[in-house]
């Protein structure tokens, strides 16, 4: 960092939240809120978080429901949350688009290895089988390490499913490509 320091004050001033309010439309702010909303919330609550009216939030939410990004639960009042299936699908599609089937299979193999190492470390076949007692005792950093390893294991399991689907999808695409190429 050899350049002249340009000083502490952010160029356009203001705190992070007011910058967000100024830079993003109501629809974009509702989108930002909904992507992290895993528990059902009313349009009122989402409007509060997105700094907009309940009506503004509701109209954005209805669009997001139509797009498949959010899901709606009818009731009085109705509630909304993100549509996990949409985000899983989007992740699979993007991975299949950005990588070859061979690359994706290589990552699957690496994750399988990581999974085996974690099975050995915890001495159980599955992250759900780890006893909460495993987190009692030990010093602060040891407990923190175990906590991180367990969350990592759950991510490995989830990513395995996602990457296997993406590899399958990419393989299908490659095969179609070859066939189309051969018929020319």
């Amino acid at each position: 960092m050899s350049e002249e320091p340009r000083g502490p004050v952010p160029a356009d001033g203001g705190d992070a939240r007011s910058r967000w309010r100024a830079d993003r439309t109501t629809f974009q702010r509702v989108y930002d809120v909904v992507t992290g909303t895993t528990e059902p919330a009313t349009a009122d609550e989402i409007g509060d978080r997105a700094d907009c009216s309940a009506d503004g939030a509701r109209s954005a939410l209805e669009q997001l429901v139509e797009m498949g990004v959010a899901e709606k639960r009818d009731g009085r009042p109705a509630t909304y949350r993100r549509n996990d299936a949409y985000f899983r699908w989007k992740r699979v599609e993007r991975l299949a688009e950005e990588h070859t089937a061979a690359e994706l299979r290589e990552r699957v193999d690496a994750l399988v290895e990581e999974d085996e190492a974690l099975q050995k470390r915890f001495g159980v076949p599955d992250p759900d089988a780890v006893s909460p007692g495993a987190f009692d005792g030990g010093d602060r950093s040891a407990v923190h390490d175990r906590w991180e390893a367990l969350t990592q294991w759950r991510s490995v399991r989830r990513d395995l499913r996602v990457l296997q689907r993406a590899a399958h999808r990419a393989a299908g695409r490659d095969e179609r490509g070859t066939r189309d190429g051969a018929s020319v």
Binding site: G7, P10, A16, T35, G36, R49, S155, D159, L163
Partner: protein, 145 residues
């Protein structure tokens, strides 16, 4: 989720959509240089947000935020500043912990013993609060002791 002792059991996989939103919002902040998923976008383990070194005084070599967010709304946001011959760090956490409330803060300079944190468990609140904290930290560093 609780076991017999009343302590909640940890905790779900990394929440990729939430991390992508945090990355996008942090990425447009003037103090943020760039962000990456580590070790890769295909199977991320954390979101690394690299802060703009030119905003810091020359004594600071680099500064970054390591962000983990889980589907249970647990999280860990680790601020690390590399200085001449040392580091300065703190961590905002939400996860089950016997000796502190679920939402807690490990204060600087060495991310020490946890203290209760009033932070709302909402991804954008956490993101904005931490970015404002970084802006204040940079200001303090320029004002000097």
């Amino acid at each position: 989720m609780t076991d017999g002792s009343g302590d909640p059991t940890p905790t779900g996989p990394l929440d990729v959509p939430t991390l992508e939103t945090v990355a996008g919002r942090a990425g447009s902040h003037p103090l943020v240089e760039r962000w990456v998923f580590d070790p890769s976008g295909a199977s991320p383990r954390l979101l690394r947000i690299e802060l703009d070194g030119n905003a810091y005084p020359p004594s600071v070599e680099a500064a970054r935020l390591d962000v983990r967010w889980f589907v249970t709304d647990d999280y860990s946001v680790h601020y690390v500043e590399s200085q001449d011959g040392g580091r300065y760090e703190c961590r905002w956490d939400r996860h089950p912990k016997a000796s502190a409330p679920r939402t807690h803060f490990h204060p600087p300079p060495d991310a020490g013993e946890a203290t209760p944190s009033p932070l709302d468990p909402h991804h954008l609140d956490v993101c904005f609060t931490v970015l404002d904290w970084v802006a204040e930290r940079v200001e303090e560093l320029h004002d000097g002791p």
